[in-house]
Amino acid sequence: MVSREVEKLLLKVQKPGRYVGGELNEVIKDKKDVDIRFAFCFPDTYEVGMSHLGMKILYSLFNSRDYIWCERVFAPWIDMEELMIKNDIPLYALESGDPLSDFDFIGFTLQYELSYTNMLNMLKLGKVPVRSADRHGLKNIVVAGGPCACNPEPITDFVDLFFIGEGEEVDLEVIDLLRKCRAEGRSKQEFLELCARIEGVYVPSLYETEYNPDGTIKSFVPKGGAPAVIRKRLMKKMDESFYPDNFVVPLVEIVHDRAVQEIFRGCIRGCRFCQAGFIYRPVREKSPETINAQCRALCENTGYDEVSLSSLSSSDYSRIVPLLEQLTSWCRDEKVSISLPSLRVDGFTDEIMDRIKTVRKSGLTFAPEAGSQRMRDVINKNVKHEELMQTCATAFAGGWSTVKLYFMIGLPTETMDDVAAIAELGQAVVDTYYKTPDRAKGKSVRVTVSASSFVPKPFTPFQWEPQDTIPELHKKQEHIKDSITTKKIQFNYHDADTSFLEAVFARGDRKLNSVMALACERGFHFDGWNDCFSLEKWLSLFEECGIDPAFYANRRRSFDEILPWDHIDYGVTKSFLKSECEKAYQNTTTPNCREKCSGCGAARYGEGVCFEKRQDMVR
């Protein structure tokens, strides 16, 4: 629903279709009939936010309750933002057109650190006081979840409570608690203290931090009956867990414009740089029957002719072949294609290839992550050179001639030889193409090598590691460029400046709140977009606040330092992370969860891969 005032602006901005709502399957309720109005905010553009699966799940789940109306809010792009400010139009939700300040809950999903400024900017545009302390009463409760909630310390002044872990249950518990507290006439403080007793809820205002003279944390103390450690929530039985049979179908093209079907959560691999590989443990799969039925319902209700099977590593799904068999049995007749992203190098078999090829052929992407075998062992990628070559040969023989390879630079213990090995690996893939006898005739091979900069993240074995400085990263980028000798390899790299800022926020503490507040005041937004990001401006903010960003990005922490996120518990023990870090220094790998249990701690949830029959148990 769009107001007359907004309509006046729409023809003056790019892609106005993202500001109007009115899509197929959008949920419209009468606000008089609901107790709770929830604004689900994605701190990025419509096209990015509408592609996000978590939002689709929670939108449907919340709206399945008759007393809740959940609506969507996205960050307006800079042209629209400017016009909204000029014409004094507050940020509004797409369904009702009502301003953000009308909502009981304002919920953000935090998918990447560089969207923090967008979150604050959206509150500001919605005329909602940015700081928690300035919002009173049981209204405009700002909540946040998503992977960045695992270390929310840099934004604790602004968010009333964080959801730790998976939201399907805990979000509703908090919503119901608000309803109850309102009926009982309780204060916001009382509400927050009661929230803190719910497992998976972190109320940052109920904790106090003290610092050592060197800036590290001295103590972190709960008050008002809040728990000392906040444990994550997770869905134990994926087959019984809520999944939407319907998506809002956008009117304008979005980033991932297709049906998305989740097949499992977690990852068996434990790559040491990967936060998702640790915080979503243990692996919990849906059954092929559930997936098949859910896929079919989604396609019928949306009209999408493409389904993407989503997980952290699709080929690790234990029943991938039976699943593809079930799916292809109807997909061909219904002209629906299946895409299988996140394939591992060692998971691309002839059988999988045949199944996905029957419907549509797209480019192939693999992520060896590091060039040399030693480096891959350090990060526990567990992919062998021969496996990659074998996989590429399979793909080339199957008619593909374009391969994308993703790598990281700046990994712990990396040398210039390891960096050069990235170019060598690209070359080896080119050579493999010309050695494959049944490759596509008359076609040249195209290998894209992409290198991003490593950002150490909380809850990984590398959480203590320094990030390479920007000049070091530039040197490594140049070195790859110089090591590539063929035009058949195209080399891309990510901007090191944004990775640096990401590293600062990822492992930041509460002292960064002052920088965030100033950034919001100065109108910072869209830091994840090159159009808006300026490291220079950020550096001057840090200086103004008397904060050294290198303290967060480039400093090696000792194993016994109190980390800003130590009070949050994702099920994987700190001692396990430490032992993984030590193994990395010795170039030693750790077997995946299906091969052998390494005792990370996630078995305490009593579900998932930890209780599957493993190869070592059968023998």
Binding site: P16, L24, V249, L251, Y304, K335
Partner: protein, 219 residues
């Protein structure tokens, strides 16, 4: 196999989507409706639909059409209408299905209703400016194309224009040449008016009907 022409309104939220997005939305609705629409062949089969005359982003359309091929004659036109409407966003409503009487290339004219207003401009003044613009011998505009900037005269493309003074806007009911060769977009008319007066206008534009070269309604 039967060629049918599907007639619809494009308004409200859907007014703000481009032709490309409309195309995508229609293909998804056709797919969801499970109507026996002929699909393209090849690697990526999709329902085949063509639009006799695309509508610009921002315009309302009261009598828009899309051509598809039906593989099965058993479907009544009423059934097609109700099935499609169940699969479309509320801003697009199918109201009729006919046989494709004229070929798509026959479109030569289109009629529009333009509601023009401007900040603090009385509607009488706007009407006067429009009359002045239309009274000129030539209405020249610079048009950017791939080959560079060239000057075009849109006057010959304005077949008729009725000007009505309303309370807070000026209403223009115009017939402009349309189609692949001499298309005149009503936005050009507004640009020309802005050039003439230096004022900024707000235009609410609705496309009403399409016609062939003899001004017979396009069917």
């Amino acid at each position: 196999m039967k060629n049918v022409r599907i007639w619809f309104v494009k308004d409200h939220e859907c007014r703000y989507i481009s032709h490309l997005d409309l195309n995508r939305t229609m293909l998804r609705a056709l797919h969801k409706s499970k109507l026996p629409i002929w699909h393209t062949e090849g690697f990526n089969p999709h329902p085949f639909a063509t639009f006799p005359l695309p509508l610009s982003l921002g315009f309302r359309g009261t009598n828009e059409c899309m051509d598809v091929k039906l593989e099965d004659d058993d479907f009544s036109f009423e059934e097609i209408i109700s099935r499609l409407n169940a699969c479309l966003p509320r801003g697009i409503r199918v109201f009729d299905v006919t046989e494709a009487v004229m070929k798509a290339g026959k479109v030569a004219f289109a009629s529009f209703t333009i509601k023009l207003s401007g900040d603090k401009l009385p509607s009488g003044a706007i009407c006067k400016s429009v009359k002045e613009l239309l009274g000129a011998e030539r209405i020249e505009l610079e048009k950017k194309s791939k080959k560079g900037v060239r000057t075009v005269d849109i006057k010959p493309g304005i077949k008729s224009c009725k000007i009505t003074e309303r309370f807070d806007f000026a209403q223009l009911d115009v017939v402009l040449s349309a189609g692949s060769s001499d298309n005149v977009n009503p936005n050009l008319l507004i640009t020309a008016l802005q050039k003439l007066t230096g004022a900024e206008y707000e235009a609410d534009i609705t496309r009403n009907d399409l016609f062939d070269a003899q001004m017979r309604p396009f069917r």
